[in-house]
Symmetry: C2
Subunit: 331 residues, 2 copies
């Protein structure tokens, strides 16, 4: 049996959605024991609607939570918040992992203050698992915003950690790793990127693909893409914006040309499928790689399906002992 502390507060859709996901997911995972962290009354009410066998969970009641508009200072100020309590449970080894759908900035700050970084890692990286144009192929991208700046050691650290993650959790035998850059040639990019290129190329434990341009992030060409948090964040949000605008435009084009309103309704499902496939938010949580604990962030706008996906990813990380494998690699 293993335990996850699940901070069910602070996400956009409220704790009911988180509990519904947990109630569904736990039936598929016999080894799992959940500690719901948050407002006791809310959790109990939600559990009435979506019951879970009493032997498989407990409630860690808290009086506060950090909302989406909160700041990183809330980690210090709100000592009894669900996010702080879930992180502390992980730090104190009361659980094997934690999940939150709350404020990202607070989560990153809290992980730093409460869990601390692994030896050899000065800046952790936020790593979502992205869908790609190639069926069933996923690509790990990090950092997407835990830290805006990164030096050579940070990026090499991201590559090493993601390499272990991809092997042990995603079962990729020899993951290919690319550096995100403005051009594919070795000579492209900033001085920092040229230096990183050399280091990745020279590392015998890394299957280095070379540079990859942002137009190919979702192309499924590699297993892992490393970059600084500023660039990763910009690109993810650019995808999000492009996706939203294109879908709107295509719908309006199609509807005004050949389709009746009735047919338009039939189309809606197809569009939603595509939106969901390429919206990383609908896939899974992002793990914060490099902190001393398995800490997952579900997207703030998570629905039942995305919380389920985050639970699944978290269990995968625990079952494959990814944290200890990473620690070993970093020594």
């Amino acid at each position: 049996m293993y335990k996850i502390a699940f901070d069910v507060m602070g996400s956009d859709n409220g704790s009911l959605v988180a509990i519904e996901a947990a109630s569904k997911f736990i039936k598929t995972k016999k080894e799992l024991y959940l500690i719901f962290v948050g407002d006791k009354e809310q959790i109990e009410t939600s559990l009435k609607k979506f019951p879970i066998d009493e032997s498989r969970y407990e409630i860690l009641a808290t009086t506060e939570f950090i909302d989406m508009n909160g700041s990183i200072m809330d980690i210090r100020r709100k000592k009894d918040s669900s996010m702080v309590k879930a992180l502390e449970a992980l730090k104190d080894n009361k659980v094997d992992a934690m999940i939150t759908g709350g404020n990202s900035a607070a989560f990153i700050a809290g992980s730093h203050f409460i869990l601390g970084e692994l030896n050899g890692i000065s800046r952790p990286g936020f790593m979502p698992t992205l869908p790609t144009a190639v069926n069933n192929k996923l690509t790990l991208l990090l950092d997407v915003g835990a830290n805006l700046e990164a030096d050579v050691e940070d990026i090499i650290g991201y590559a090493k950690m993601a390499n272990i993650y991809s092997k042990s959790v995603l079962k990729i035998e020899n993951p290919s790793i690319a550096q995100l850059n403005i051009g594919e040639e070795k000579s492209k990019g900033t001085l920092l990127q040229k230096e990183i290129y050399k280091e990745l190329e020279a590392d015998e434990n890394i299957n280095f693909f070379g540079n990859l341009e942002s137009r190919d992030i979702l192309a499924g060409k590699v297993d892992i893409i490393v970059t600084d948090g500023y660039t990763g964040n910009m690109c993810l949000k650019a995808f999000e914006g492009a996706s939203k605008i294109l879908m709107t435009e295509i719908k309006s084009q199609l509807y005004k040309t050949i389709f009746t309103k009735l047919k338009a309704l039939t189309l809606k499902k197809s569009f939603n499928n595509v939106s969901k496939k390429f919206d990383y938010k609908n896939h899974s949580g992002a793990i914060l790689l490099g902190v001393n604990g398995i800490a997952f962030k579900a997207h703030g706008s998570s629905d039942v399906k995305s919380f389920e996906a985050t639970l699944r990813m978290t269990c995968d990380a625990i079952e494959n002992d990814v944290l200890n494998k990473i620690k070993k690699e970093l020594i």
Copy 2:
């Protein structure tokens, strides 16, 4: 009458496409005189197919050209290349502007060596005009890759130059200018971005919108977006990649669900319309703002329509005397 030196070599689709565009466009613009720069035989052959009144053009014959795989060193090595000759014609005031569809890196280097920068500008910016989700609203984005790094002065320079351009060429009365950033709040981003925010906010001649996230670049929220060339380039290519992948996915979803092959053909046009609307390549060239001359780059994969658009933009820039207005502003 005004003159444009048109380097018709070095783009993906060959000189015929460039000449066809010129032949069509010149009929709409009585004041325009063209100097085709490139291989004499190729140009003459193309002109047989797409004739232009002999009083309205001349050929500046060159023996070399810089191809897409060329390097910036070619600017020094290939003294008789069409790109170098077109830039020299502009420098020597033989023409009012130049256009090339050739190698971007060589064009940027050549503009630096041959035209030089305007007083007060140390790094020019590549500025495409982007389509947006709002009908008939365009957004100027710079820099998209002329220089990877930029300091506060560079970005303020971009804002000032684009401001004049938007007012005089696009006829926007009081253009709103945003800084591209990873978050909208004033406190977001790097130290550099916080400094830029303050300077843009304090500048009385600038209608500062604040920070804008990459997901909103195409949303039509502002008239001008300033950023460093590295970030601008990353975002443009992310849009390109997202667009390609989404369109492919939507097509396959729709075709496999409700459509017969016949209907699929009907749909093709709608998709192409959307692709074209949001592909900046199909819109117009990008001007290199900050060099001493009106120098436009048509995309390397330009078709007839995009070369026509670049010609139109270049004429607009000349007719509105944008270079002198910018020079005046920078003093």
